[in-house]
Symmetry: D2
Subunit: 276 residues, 4 copies
C-alpha cells in the first residue's frame, strides 16, 4: 500500500553534516555536504562551494534554500553534472555572538582557514575538486560577495564564481555597531570594505586582469534589492576589462525565494564551466 507517495522515483542523494577541527580558528567548524545520487568515493567529482549569508550558518542552504531538490532535479536532466556541493560555516555561533564573514579579521583568520585547512581537507575526504577546472564557488549576500572576492583573490583555484544578491562593497554604508568597535559585526563590515570587489577591479594590473579572464563570472540580484547597484557596477567594470561576465536582474528582493530559484541558473553555470 504505497499510496501516492511513490508516484515518481526520488534521487538517492544525501546531505551529510561533518565538522573539522581548525587550528587557525581554534574551534571546530561544522559544514554540510551534498553527495549526489550514486556517489562513489572511489570516483572523482567536481566540487561547488555554496556560501551562506550574514547571520546564517552552514545549515541554511539545506533548510531554507531547498538546495537538495534543485540539485537532484538538475542532475536528473543533465543540466548539472554529478557534483559534490560543500556548504561551509562562515561564523562561530557557539563561541562569539556575531557573524565573522569570509575574510581574515582580528583573531579570526577565516580566509586562511578556508584555503589552507578546509578546502584541502574536504576535497580529500570526499574525493572532489583538486583543480581549478573542477571547482566553482557561489553564494548569497555576504556569501555572494565572498564568492566573488575568493575568485578574484584566487583565480587559479576556481573556474567560475556566481554571486547572488551579493554584498560586494561597503563604502556607501555606515559602519554598523558603532560604539562597539571591537564587535564582530563591525569587523565583518570593515572586512567587506577592505576587500571591496569593486576596488579590486579598479586596482587590478594587466597581469591580474589576465588571470581574472580565466574565471567565468555571474552576478544575479533582485530589482527590489538595495544591493543591486553593486552587481551592476561590478558587471560593468568586468565587461570593460574584457572579462566574461553575465548579469541578471530578476524580480524580487533579498529573499530565500530569490536564492532558491537562483540555483536553477547557478548550478548549470558552474557545471558547464567545469573543464571537459
Amino acid at each position: 500500500m504505497a499510496g501516492l507517495a511513490a508516484l515518481s522515483a526520488a534521487a538517492q542523494s544525501k546531505i551529510v553534516t561533518e565538522s573539522i577541527q581548525s587550528g587557525k580558528l581554534g574551534c571546530e567548524q561544522k559544514y554540510n555536504v551534498y553527495l549526489p545520487d550514486g556517489y562513489d568515493a572511489a570516483k572523482s567529482y567536481p566540487v561547488i562551494y555554496l556560501l551562506h549569508g550574514l547571520y546564517g550558518d552552514y545549515s541554511n542552504w539545506v533548510q531554507m534554500g531547498g538546495m537538495k531538490i534543485i540539485a537532484d532535479e538538475l542532475i536528473g536532466t543533465g543540466e548539472l553534472c554529478p557534483v559534490v556541493i560543500v556548504m561551509p560555516n562562515a561564523g562561530d555561533n557557539d563561541v562569539h555572538n556575531y557573524q565573522n564573514g569570509y575574510f581574515n579579521v582580528k583573531d579570526w583568520p577565516y580566509e586562511d582557514f578556508f584555503f589552507q585547512e578546509f578546502l584541502p581537507a574536504v576535497e580529500q575526504k570526499f574525493n572532489c575538486g583538486g583543480s581549478k577546472g573542477k571547482r566553482a564557488v557561489m553564494g548569497l549576500s555576504m556569501g555572494g560577495g565572498g564568492s566573488i572576492a575568493y575568485a578574484q583573490r584566487h583565480p587559479e583555484l576556481f573556474s567560475s564564481a556566481y554571486g547572488m544578491s551579493a554584498w560586494l562593497d561597503n563604502k556607501q554604508r555606515e559602519v554598523r555597531g558603532t560604539g562597539k568597535p571591537e564587535s564582530k559585526l563591525t569587523l565583518t563590515d570593515e572586512s567587506v570594505r577592505k576587500h571591496s570587489t569593486l576596488d579590486f577591479m579598479d586596482n587590478a594590473d594587466e597581469k591580474t586582469i589576465g588571470q581574472l579572464k580565466t574565471v567565468q563570472w555571474f552576478l544575479d540580484c533582485g530589482d527590489d534589492d538595495s544591493l543591486m547597484p553593486l552587481s551592476v557596477e561590478l558587471h560593468l567594470k568586468m565587461k570593460k576589462a574584457g572579462l566574461h561576465s553575465e548579469l541578471r536582474v530578476r524580480n524580487g528582493g533579498h529573499t530565500w525565494e530569490y536564492w532558491h530559484t537562483a540555483l536553477r541558473e547557478s548550478f548549470p553555470f558552474a557545471s558547464r564551466n567545469f573543464c571537459r
Copy 2:
C-alpha cells in the same frame, strides 16, 4: 543596526489559522487563510481555494509549498490581484486514521460540508468570493483531482480550475487497503473512482458541456509523474468537447518543488480569469 535583513521591503501579508465546527462531519475542521498585504475586511476580495493532497492537511501549502512568498511576489508585480487564499483540510487526522478526500463517503459527507457549510462561512467571514467570477479552485494530487471535479460538478461556482499532478481517475489502479474494505483509504480510493473526471466528460450531455464552457481549465503534471497520462487524457477530452483547456508537462515528479513552482502559473491563471 538593521543589518542586511532589511535590504528589501517585505509584504505584510498574513497566514491565519482558523477552524469551523461542522455539523455534517461532526467535528471541528481547521483551515489556513492567506490575507494579502493591506487586507481590509471592509473591502471585497476574490477567493482561491487551494487544496492539499492525500496524507496531507490544511497546513501543507504554507509549510511545505511556500505559497506565501509566491503569492506576495505575484501580487507585488500585479500578476495576481489582491486575493484571499483559503486552504481547507480534507481529512480528520485527529479522529480517523486515514485520509478522507474531497467527496462524500460513508459517514463523511465532505463535499456537502465544503459547499454547504465551509464555503459560505469562510466567504462571509473574510468578505471574499460570493460569485463565480470571484472564485477559483486549485490543488495538488488528490486536491488537483478534487479541484477539477468540484468545478465539473459546480461549474456555476468557479471561474477557473487548475489541477497540479492531479489524481483525476482511479480505474487503472488497484483498490488499496484490500482486506480492509471499511478503511478510510479504501473509501477515498473508491470515491475517486466513482467521481472520475474522465468519466464525467464521457457522460456529459450537451447542456453540461455548455456549463463546463463557462469555466477555464488548466492541467499541469510532471513528465516523471505516473499520474501524467490522466492529465493528458482529460485535456484531450476537454479540447474535443470545445472547452478551453491548457495543458503543461514540465520537468519533474510528484514533488513539492513541482507544486511550489506551479503556483507561478496557477495564481496568475486564476487572477486573469476573475471577472472584470
Copy 3:
C-alpha cells in the same frame, strides 16, 4: 489533403496598414495596426502603442519583431486581453534622409502630431483606447525612450509604460553628425538629450511625482547592451521617488531576439494594468 499545415488552429488576427495625412508634419504617415481574432468594430478595445527604434519604421514590429504570433499566443492563454496594437511611424523616410524621433524638433513637431492628430484619429477609427485605463505605451531603443518620456509627460493618458533597451538620455554620448548641425540625426540626438527621462525625475516636483505614481513603469534591458545603465539609473530614481517600477536585466544585446521575447513580458504587463 490538408497536410500537416492544419495541425493546430491559428488565430484569425489581422495586421492592417493604414495612413494618416498630418497637417502638422505636412506629409502622410503610415502605420500598422494589429486587430485581434474576432475584432468587432462595434465593441470597444484597449490600445497598446508599440514604438519602433532609430532607423526603423512602422513595419518593423511586424516584419522583424514577430509581434503578431506573440500577441495571438498571449491572447489565446488570456495573458493579454483582446487589444488593438498600434505601430506608428516615427520618421519620414520618403522625404528626409534621417530619422526624426518622437519629439518636436525643428520643422518636425512629431509629439504634437502624435497626441493631437494621430492618437485621436486612430482611437476613433478602431474604437479603442479613449482613456488612461485603456491605454499603454511601449517600445524599443529610441521607442523605449519615447514610451517612457511620453508617459512622463502625459501621465494622464497612459496606465503603463514599458521601455525595452530604452534610449532614456543622451548626456554621455557625443552628438553624432557633428559638422552637420542641421542633419535630422543631430536633431534627434539633441531632442533625446533635451527630453532626458533621468533629468525629468530629478526635476519633478511633488505634484508631478503624484501624477507619475498613477502609471506603472517597466524597464527591460540586456546585460550586453551599452544602454543598460540608463535603465538601472532610471529604475533607482523612480523607486526612490516611490513610483512602482520593475526592472529586468536579461541575457542579450540590442537585438530583435531580445525585443521579440520582451513582448512576452510587456504585453501581459500592459494587459493587467488596464483598468478593470
Copy 4:
C-alpha cells in the same frame, strides 16, 4: 556615426549554403551550415543535424526558425558549445512536386543518401562530428519524427535526439493523396507509417533496448498540437523500457514560434550530451 546599431557586439557566426551531388538520389541536394563565431577548419567540432518539416526545405530553419540568433546567444552564455549545425534538405523541390521525407521510398533512397553520402561528406568538409559522442539530431514535425527514427535505427551514431512537434507515427491518419497512390506525398505517408517510432519500441528486443539506452531522448510538443498524443505515448514507452526520456508540453500549436523557442531547450540538451 555608428548610431545605435552597434550598442552591443554581434557574434561573427556564419550561415553558408552548400550542395552535394548525390549518386543515390540522382540529383544535387542543397544544405545550410551554421559555423560558429571563430570557426577554424583546423579544429574539430561537434555537429547537430537540424531537420525541417513537411513541405519545407533546407532554408527554413534559417529563414523562418531564427536558428542563428539563438545559437549565437546560447554559445555566448556557454549553454551551447561551439558547434557546427547542419540543415539538410529532405525533398527535391526542383524535380518532384511533393515532399519525400527522411526514409527510403520508391526511387528515392533518402536514408541511404543521408547516412552513406551526406553525413560522411559534410563531416569531412567541415571537420565536425566523426563519432556518436560528437553528434546530435533534432528537428520539427516530419523532421522531429525523422530525428527520433534516425536515432532509433542508428543509435551508434547519435548521443541525443530531440523531436519537436514530432510526426512519430501515422497509423491513425488516413493515407492522404488517395487516388494518387504513386504521389510523393502518399509515399511519405506510407514511409512514416512503416517507420513508426511507436512500433519500433513495441518490437525492440533486449539488445536493441540496450543500444537505445545509450541515446538521450527528448520530446517537446504543444498542448494545442494534434500530434501531441504521439509524443506522450512514445515518452511513456521509452520510460517503461528504462530509456532516459524527457517530455515537455508547452503552450502552443504547430508553429514556428514553438520551434524557435524549442531551440532554447534543444541546443543545450544536445550540448550537454556531447561526450566530455
